[in-house]
């Protein structure tokens, strides 16, 4: 899922300064699951922001509402009757959600409260790890299910580089060397032949904005 983390409070305060009535929109999708942008976090952030603005002598009116998923327009439609009462919106969704809310209400300033961090997995409670960089050409088949694009600091395809240090990456002794891990995993599966041949250069496909339209729906969307 998408992992996000709360922005610095001062940065959020700066972005909404000057607006008196704020609607903070939570998201019950990924950012709720990673404990960054669900209803609970909306309530908590509102309390903190109200306190900060009150302290600085310019109190604001801030309310919260959480939609099912901000990355789906039909859920954002629930906000339609509310937004008129507010000067600006905060969004506690990922970047996709923020942009979809902003698109739905083009006359209202919409500000992000979170930093969208990565697509990752939940290692343990409150512990998330990055897993995918969306290269649109999944490499996991020959790497034993370990992503070299994401987990190698140099995203190399014919590793490991010379910087492996006691099985860890040279950039951080807490990060395993992805290519050492790939080697060990493949060796355990008797599949080392997977990395004995040169892997040729990528055709990077993620350099312009992507759109996916399923074949079954092409008639509907592609004119």
């Amino acid at each position: 899922m998408v992992i996000a983390t709360l922005k610095d409070l001062a940065e959020i305060k700066d972005s909404i300064a000057g607006y008196k009535r704020i609607l903070n929109v939570g998201c019950a999708g990924c950012t709720a699951v990673c404990l960054a942008g669900g209803q609970k976090e909306v309530d908590s952030l509102n309390l903190q922001l109200a306190g900060l603005f009150k302290e600085s002598g310019s109190p604001i009116q801030i309310e919260g509402y959480t939609v099912e998923r901000q990355c789906e327009m039909e859920f954002n439609a629930e906000l339609d009757p509310m937004v008129e009462r507010f000067d600006a919106l905060l969004s506690m969704a990922c970047g996709a959600g923020v942009q979809f809310v902003a698109e739905r209400f083009p006359k209202k300033p919409v500000f992000p409260a979170l930093n969208t961090t990565f697509i990752g997995s939940n290692r343990d409670v409150g512990w998330f790890e990055e897993m995918c960089r969306f290269c649109r050409d999944c490499q996991l088949a020959y790497t034993g299910g370990i992503c070299p694009v994401t987990k190698c600091a140099k995203s190399i395809f014919n590793g490991p580089c010379g910087g492996t240090n006691k099985g860890k990456c040279e950039v951080d002794p807490n990060i395993p060397c992805a290519w050492n891990a790939i080697y060990e995993r493949l060796k355990g599966q008797n599949r080392l032949d997977n990395i004995m041949k040169i892997r040729t250069h990528m055709k990077w496909q993620n350099q312009i904005q992507g759109t996916v339209i399923l074949d079954a729906y092409k008639d509907r969307y592609v004119k």
């Binding site: 910087g163 050492n180 250069h201």
Partner: protein, 310 residues
């Protein structure tokens, strides 16, 4: 002849070569480069020009290498995959060749977090092995990547790369070298060798795979300057293994005598390496110690350097 470089001619003639290293300055003064080049001239056969090593911004390797050509020394231009995409790399290879640069070293490069621009975006569009076959294609087929139309002129480049026998997974390292050989590398410079046992085991495997007959292997040597440097490198530099015996020799050397001991160790290593089948030279990385290179190669009985065969 692939490149007409002196390095290639000497290696083809079976000479035991010496390459050195010249770190470009953090400034634009060509005199700094000239001074270093003068110290190395006659003491090495060619000199590596590092490419923003440790991710610290310096005079570019291509410009420094072109200056070194003017100063009468043969450069090995290093090129890292960290800072350029395939467009910039191929463009710089063409440009470097036009400037008279005939050797290059294909590297992935130190990660940017080590340097003075830690928040920059790295590139790694292609990796070092992919860079090797890119240069080979440019040279042997006169074509850039993915384009069938031939370029104008012809690229002459002796293609080098690095190899590190001293990092996990040890048993895979010779096979990674094999991938570089299959990509088209002509010569290899290894990571600094201190643990001779590991290096000899790696070389044995390299010979078993027949790789020593398909590329020239130059053994990496870095003279230790002090006990402090030795301890620091042993503890902090990834991919380097320094055995206790060498650490003890360096740290127990009498005050003011550590550098002398370092050079002594270095010469012993060179003598030992010369006996290893399949090693065709050394790569002497005397980091910010260019003025000592003459002394080292002299003590190691590597002078005079052989004339370049016609």
């Amino acid at each position: 002849m692939k490149s007409e470089s002196d390095l290639e001619k000497l290696l083809n003639a079976g000479k035991f070569v010496v390459t050195g290293e010249l770190g470009p300055p953090q400034g634009n003064d060509p005199e700094v480069v000239k001074k270093k080049a003068e110290m190395l001239k006659g003491n090495v056969d060619a000199v590596n020009i590092t490419d923003n090593q440790t991710s610290v911004v310096r005079m570019s390797s291509i410009a420094t290498a072109a200056l070194v050509v003017q100063f009468g020394l043969e450069p090995v231009m290093q090129m890292v995959c960290r800072d350029r995409n395939r467009i910039a790399m191929q463009s710089d290879i063409i440009g470097a060749n036009a400037l008279g640069i005939r050797n290059m070293l294909c590297l992935s490069g130190d990660h940017q977090t080590f340097g003075n621009q830690p928040y920059c975006k790295n590139v790694y569009d292609i990796d070092s092995i992919q860079l090797i076959y890119t240069v080979k294609r440019m040279r042997d087929e006169n074509k850039i990547l993915d384009v069938d139309k031939e370029m104008g002129g012809s690229i002459r480049m002796f293609i080098g790369a690095a190899a590190n026998p001293f990092a996990e997974p040890f048993e895979f390292r010779p096979y990674r070298l094999k991938k570089k050989v299959e990509a088209g590398v002509d010569f290899i410079q290894t990571q600094c060798i201190y643990d001779m046992k590991i290096f000899k085991e790696w070389m044995k495997k390299v010979r078993d795979l027949g790789l020593h007959e398909r590329c020239h292997i130059l053994a990496g040597i870095t003279p230790l300057k002090s006990g402090g440097m030795t301890r620091y490198m042993a503890a902090n530099v990834s991919g380097i293994i320094i055995p206790d015996e060498i650490i003890n020799r360096m740290t127990s050397a009498p005050k003011g005598k550590a550098a002398e001991e370092g050079i002594k160790i270095c010469c012993e290593q060179i003598a030992e390496i010369r006996e290893i089948e399949g090693v065709h030279g050394i790569h002497l990385m005397a980091i910010e110690w260019e003025h000592m290179v003459g002394e080292i190669v002299s003590q190691a009985k590597l002078l005079p350097r052989p004339p370049v065969p016609l």
